[in-house]
Symmetry: C2
Subunit: 330 residues, 2 copies
């Protein structure tokens, strides 16, 4: 598998990819999943890819020189389009070109045309843009509400992104967050592995020199890994354990709630000689005995939890050092 993540902030773009590729579990190797296309002062683009390696390599090869005929007769390439949207269209067309060449033969051997990509950057004359491109060559664009895309093994590293990232997040803080997200993924999934490619792009630069490849010896990655692990553990220890017997705690775990009744235990049926007093025979069937809450109340509770998250979100926003940030442009 793979884990790639890209973030679109007001201040710039962050791209991070791992480099592990596996065919089954016993054929593991390292392949780079990021490509950087740069025409300094004019255009800057990064492509991250996941899925079948033979397909992603073919798409990357094709993309560099692919020409998509436009309705005006012009031949569009990533090197001459005037917008990232058109560049994403060229990439989508390159994916479809490879599909036409490869999919039928793959299907005969039971292999899906499986590919997913993140493509972002900036072209002189417009703002930065970030796209996620699917196997069919179609794509979606990141917006202020959803400023990041992930491909591959995305779930382990999603909670920290959801807690930290907004469009206002400063660029280096976002890079740190992407690395924490990757670190959590590396810890829990063997199909994601070092080294990592990190690319950080500042808005309106149309080039970058912030490109590094991080292996296990990288001082920053080591510091981040150790600090995060240790401090997470301290935070965990600093939160009270549940106090079952009430007592002094301000936050008891055992409270009466009209919405949440504890489970009714099932006892041995009366015919069990070892526990005749535990009769469950008079009870209704198992499923009916456990009505958790009326459905509507359950959804109300869920909505309330959402409100909790919104309050947290607001608190986070207010903590952002907004004075040092470019103003939000949308």
């Amino acid at each position: 598998m793979t884990y790639c993540v890209a973030l679109k902030l007001n201040a710039g773009l962050v791209f991070l990819s791992d480099s592990r590729t596996n065919a089954g579990l016993d054929q593991i190797s390292s392949f780079r999943k990021a490509m950087v296309y740069e025409q300094p002062g004019e255009r800057f683009m990064v492509l991250l890819s996941a899925g079948n390696l033979s397909l992603t390599q073919a798409v990357r090869e094709v993309l560099e020189s692919f020409q998509l005929p436009s309705s005006s007769g012009e031949l569009l390439s990533i090197w001459n389009v005037r917008s990232m949207f058109d560049a994403a269209r060229v990439l989508g067309a390159a994916v479809r070109h490879v599909y036409d060449r490869e999919a039928a033969a793959l299907q005969r051997t039971g292999v899906d045309f499986n590919i997913s990509m993140i493509f972002g950057g900036q072209i002189q004359g417009e703002g930065m843009r970030l796209f996620q491109v699917y196997s069919a060559g179609n794509f979606i664009e990141a917006t202020g509400e959803t400023p990041y895309f992930q491909i591959g093994e995305s779930k382990y590293g999603k909670p920290v992104l959801d807690r930290v990232i907004t469009s206002e997040t400063p660029l280096d803080e976002a890079a740190k967050c992407a690395l924490v997200s990757m670190d959590s993924t590396l810890k829990s999934n063997l199909t994601v592995g070092l080294p990592l490619d990190l690319i950080v792009y500042e808005n309106n630069r149309f080039a970058t020199d912030k490109i590094v490849c991080l292996d296990a010896n990288n001082p920053y990655l080591r510091m981040l890994h150790d600090s995060w692990g240790q401090r997470l553990r301290h935070v965990f220890d600093s939160i009270d354990d549940p106090a079952w017997d009430g007592g002094e705690t301000a936050t008891p775990i055992r409270v009466h709630s009209p919405l949440a009744h504890p489970i009714v235990k099932v006892g041995a049926p009366p015919q069990s000689p070892s526990a005749p007093e535990q009769g469950a025979g008079r009870m209704p069937p198992a499923a009916l005995r456990q009505p958790i809450v009326p459905q509507q109340d359950g959804l109300n509770a869920a909505r309330e939890y959402q409100r909790m998250q919104t309050a947290e979100e607001e608190a986070r926003q207010s903590r952002q050092p907004s004075a040092s940030l470019p103003s939000r442009s949308f």
Copy 2:
């Protein structure tokens, strides 16, 4: 979907399940996914289930009175078996019984026989045991090396379990960790929802009263959610951002490594009139231009990262308040 997690510690067992069930995205409701079977002083068992609700409800209904003929002619039920292993066999047989009744008809409408369960507890005469049971009725047992099982949407909540849980973890701390794992999952996946069922069992009690149902108003869950979110954010802020220009930092992100060479940028091809000096025509094809590291070196680096994790693990073990814990029995 669903998220359920169960932990087997030396001190006892922890079971936690959400209660959201969905058929597609627009049919969402609440169903309890945990069952408690108790014969006080004699046996205590908990079943958590995920998958097709009609199947898991049927298995639960069948399980309460299911009788599996043994080779000696005895009829085994969860109420008379002398080991949790045999109880898991009875559960597996109940799953197969439901399969025989339901699978063919489901298959005709294109529905898989999809079910996964966690089943654990203790029967007088042996230690606690914890099993994960699959659709085919087969099962695996948790051991000291892997003291937890997850079913359903397991990935979001796995990193914190991997960082915190060992067999030595105290029982209430493990319950707290399960709740943090659930909180991360609730935050990132809409198909997992409140209320939660939490069941904590102490070794050799053969009964428990630590059974609660937590909704969004639960004081402990609210405190945990707020504290974890805020303090995680503080930890994140307390770690240095990457310093690209070196300077004073002890942990630079840009260092030379023989194993990790930064990406070579792709420039516009010479035929592009706007940037004739960016010739990439003399370069080898894209894939060959990006050799990340020799494969063997990449695996060495991965092994080294594993060693980093082991050192962290050891540090964690040494922080455990082991004096207050029962001695490890295996």
